[in-house]
Symmetry: C2
Subunit: 386 residues, 2 copies
């Protein structure tokens, strides 16, 4: 009897999330396995909302690989104790041989728990998160593209405000507890373009007075056109978020938001001209700013996840191990889901500058290869170096 696979996606999409799905599907096709998705993540599994992908052509597969947004639909649903037997029953009744769950921290926790009750179904986690906060793996598919977006966007913002009477632009970048994505904005710099001039990470306590001092010092050094990159999740000394969106997600986490506007308001109140930007979700769904390295790794993670399941593995996830920084080389390793589940990797001290408002060379060496091909370059008339 033909074997069957089921694929589902949990949590927020990335620009390359469907590259992982395409990777799984490419191997399933080769192996003659019937491909299905559960629509809307683990909720779709629970509800038996399956959709067959037998009709997809090779052309569709290639187009899907390059499409942002969770192609199979997603969810932020936390399974209750009562749900697990139901998930097990669905996997058994629908005769699913391989189940793949594509997600971040919370989804890997779900995936781990499902793997324990899934009977004969092989359960493999496919790593995905723009936040780069999954533990053990060197980095995570989805991060490189969002990081590239942040670097290019901040570089272009720097060009825009370089010579304008906007004195300070504060740009809010995603990442609630981990600063990886905000730190990636620092990759925007080259010899002529110094944006972002200041970087505020959730790993560093935010202090309003120090912030004002930092901005005034940056204005003294660089003049006008200061770009401040700030993580949406920065917190004060008491651990309170500087701004909150008013939302609580399905896992009970309070959702930050409006942080750039809050910082811009602090500056305005002190008489410093400022405006705020929040590209938000655009960072995780821009097709044109996908990192080629990230896309390849997302596809490979999917492909190798299928091969692992077909090989009889279960309760594991394909992760990345750094072999060398320069030339950039990685290897794919197996990680036990139990070791990954529910853990969160924030930025280590050695990647954060002593000032607390910048990254270090160590971060640059780590992150630069992940954003892919050289960033777009620009010609600036050197009038300010005359």
């Amino acid at each position: 009897m033909k074997k069957r696979m089921l694929f589902a996606q949990g949590g927020g999409p990335t620009a390359v999330i469907n590259a992982s799905l395409a990777g799984v599907l490419s191997e399933a096709r080769r192996a003659g396995v019937e491909p299905m998705i559960a629509v809307g993540g683990i909720e779709g599994v629970l509800g038996g909302r399956f959709f067959s992908l037998e009709g997809m052509t090779e052309f569709d597969l290639a187009a899907l690989r390059d499409t942002p947004g969770a192609g199979a639909g997603s969810c932020r649903y936390k399974l209750t104790e009562a749900d697990y037997p139901q998930v097990a029953a669905v996997l058994r009744d629908r005769r699913i041989d391989y189940f793949f769950y594509n997600g971040g921290n919370d989804s890997m926790d779900t995936c781990h728990k499902v793997s324990r009750i899934a009977g004969d179904t092989r359960v493999v986690g496919v790593a995905k998160t723009i936040d780069n906060d999954l533990d053990l793996t060197d980095h995570c598919p989805g991060f490189g593209s969002a990081a590239r977006y942040n670097a290019v966007t901040v570089r272009e913002l720097g060009l825009d405000v370089r010579s304008l009477p906007i004195h300070v632009v504060v740009v809010e970048l995603m990442g609630r507890n981990a600063g990886w994505l905000t730190a990636a904005a620092a990759l925007a710099r080259d010899e002529n373009l110094r944006a972002p001039h200041l970087v505020y990470l959730p790993e560093v306590v935010f202090d309003e007075e120090r912030f004002l001092d930092d901005v005034r010092a940056a204005q003294k050094t660089f003049g006008t056109g200061i770009v401040v990159a700030v993580s949406e999740g920065i917190r004060d000394a008491d651990g309170h978020p500087v701004a909150e969106s008013g939302l609580v997600d399905g896992f009970g986490h309070r959702v930050p938001g409006g942080t750039a506007q809050a910082l811009s308001n602090i500056l305005l109140r002190s008489g410093i001209r400022s405006r705020s930007e929040k590209p938000g979700l655009a960072a995780r769904c821009s097709k044109l700013l996908v990192s080629d390295v990230d896309r390849l790794e997302a596809f490979e993670s999917g492909r190798r996840s299928f091969l692992a399941a077909a090989d009889g593995q279960s309760g594991m996830m394909i992760g990345l191990r750094r072999v060398t920084d320069d030339p950039y080389e990685i290897a794919y390793d197996d990680f036990d889901l139990e070791a990954v589940a529910g853990r969160e990797k924030t930025m280590p001290k050695e990647m954060i500058a002593a000032s607390g408002t910048d990254v270090t060379e160590t971060f640059d060496r780590y992150a630069r290869p992940l954003i892919g091909a050289t960033l777009p370059s620009y010609y600036t008339i050197p009038y300010d170096r005359a």
Copy 2:
């Protein structure tokens, strides 16, 4: 004696503003005219902050053409009565034969007034604004690229939230008084992707209750993943902006901002899950989302501005006249600066849907050719049409 030209840029940059500068420079080079910029717009002229571009290579010129941000530096300075004689003196003393001022409404007003007191200097306005609110010209260089950015970004946002438990995403787009750029988000739609589901323009009075009704109706029709595009400048029935940034610009205009967050808060207070986005300046400085049509027209406008000045014209601006929509064909015409100066073109009624929350076919016919080559396409698994 070798003739001399001076070029300056006023107001906010566009993604193709330097294509116009490159167009002027390409003809100046051919004519053997000495090229100079005034750094920082009309303030740079006033202060005599000149910078020679004699050293630029052809390669630099090509790279400058493709660089966003005001390459010559910009300003938002309104000349006082006392400044005009000083500007005239600078142009005379520095023996400027041709002066080009690249800007929008306010800059064309400045340019017009300078042309009247400039003595032997030929003064030509070079049109530029992402807002598309310059009168008489069919459209304005800079608009097509920002419009393309908005269409692609909203399409991708629609993909991202299509199947997520985020119910409504409100995205704030630039344009204080004219809705052209926000309307351009509607060009994002295709047969599968319906974002933006609602469009709020500054030409239409905003009403909170009606907004809640609109969103609830959209949720009924489309389910989750609603994208609302809103102009930063929407106002209520009393003419008050829905949100203000706290800034006043150099021309005394109050600067709107935070509108998407304000709308998102309205939804949250009514129990509708929502988040807000504000790509802001990114829309006017993305190199990858430049419209090829816009870039060519910006370059041509610059080139023809030089030729007009060299031909002895002054006090005029090169504008665009629509010949046919399909196939798209335009002609370049001369416009008297006096007729353009200080006027503002908002969206006409026939381009706004009767509902007040969408655009019409007339707008689509007008705007679609301006955003350039076909938008990126995406593959969506048709699970919701099963």
